[in-house]
């Protein structure tokens, strides 16, 4: 995981290499003399983070919340799009209620009787 010299963009001995060396030394120098308060803060931050090492990272709660929110939104969106229950059958011209079916059968009987009567008369 360290920098490979072959993939480094600069040529050895070049002015950019000198620039990089100066940058490294300046940055190293800048962290070499941190004050005690800052070092203490860093130590506390590290200890707080390390206290979490053995605690399992549990994204399950977030996933459950997200799934619940998605379900609520899906229901809210889908409900207005669903066809209403019994009124749909009433409004569909190709669908008949039981009472209408019975009336139609009676009419059919009447039509068949009339057709038979005409045949006999002829």
């Amino acid at each position: 995981m360290t920098m490979n010299s072959k993939e480094h963009e600069t040529e050895p001995g070049s002015s950019t290499e000198a620039l990089e060396a100066l940058a490294r030394s300046s940055l190293d120098e800048s962290v070499a003399h941190l004050d005690a308060a800052t070092l203490s803060r860093l130590n506390r931050a590290r200890q707080q983070a390390l206290a979490e090492v053995n605690k399992p990272y549990n994204p399950g709660n977030w996933l459950a919340l997200a799934a619940g929110a998605f379900a609520i939104i899906a229901i809210a969106v889908a409900l207005p799009l669903l066809p209403p229950g019994d009124s749909a059958a009433e409004q569909d011209p190709g669908t008949f209620s039981v009472a209408e079916d019975a009336a139609l059968m009676e009419d059919l009987d009447l039509v068949l009787w009339m057709m038979e009567s005409e045949d006999h008369a002829s």
């Binding site: 995981m1 963009e9 940055l27 800048s30 962290v31 590290r46 983070a49 053995n54 399992p56 990272y57």
Partner: protein
């Protein structure tokens, strides 16, 4: 190891603490060593970018917590790019929040951004300047370099410090910066050019 696999492994080791207590201690110890190794540099990286030590300390702490909570089960050689990826993400969030705050403050009459009159580099290095320098010339050169790095655009600064200072490969830097390796090289070369131009004024005649 994927997150799912890591979770399964973790729950299994939780149920078998006797067998895996040693591994847990090793992981704790390894993570402690890693954080100790990077914490000062990470603080400087954050400080160069945000300009305030207190803010930088908070960002580093958040990055530490993020790494431990989410990636402590990953192989340790992946920790550094992951840690810097979290830190850079926090730094970017910080800059976004600050930009929003400045825009809001600009619309409010009679208010001024408290940060606007503060030179970030003055703040970033105020503590160190009080320390005696072994050589005044060296201190001036160091300070000029830090100023120049601090004044780089954010992405150039990230590419430069991760590659030149942290010694990360182009691939790891790309992972940390959440961009392509080609972008890293571009940012890095532009950073080098910017630094050369900025430091030319300080070069001995």
């Amino acid at each position: 190891m994927t997150n799912t696999a890591a979770l399964i492994y973790h729950s299994w080791t939780e149920q078998n603490p006797m067998q895996h207590g040693g591994q847990s201690l090793d992981r704790h110890s390894a993570m402690n060593g890693f954080l100790q190794e990077v914490e000062r540099r990470a603080l400087r990286v954050a400080e160069l970018s945000v300009g305030h030590r207190e803010d930088a300390l908070e960002l580093v702490q958040e990055a530490m917590l993020g790494l431990v909570r989410r990636y402590s089960l990953r192989p340790s050689d992946e920790w550094k790019p992951l840690f810097y990826r979290i830190l850079q993400s926090r730094i970017n969030d910080f800059h976004r929040r600050r930009a929003v705050r400045r825009r809001v403050m600009a619309f409010m009459p009679g208010t001024a951004d408290a940060d606007s009159d503060i030179d970030p580099m003055d703040q970033a290095t105020a503590g160190e300047r009080e320390n005696p320098a072994s050589a005044l010339q060296q201190e001036i050169a160091n300070q000029a370099m830090l100023d120049a790095i601090g004044n780089l655009p954010t992405r150039q600064q990230q590419a430069f410090v991760l590659r030149a200072w942290e010694g990360m490969s182009t691939r790891d830097t790309a992972l940390a910066m959440d961009c392509s390796e080609g972008s890293v090289k571009t940012h890095y070369n532009r950073a080098l050019k910017s630094l050369q131009d900025a430091l030319a004024e300080h070069a001995p005649q």
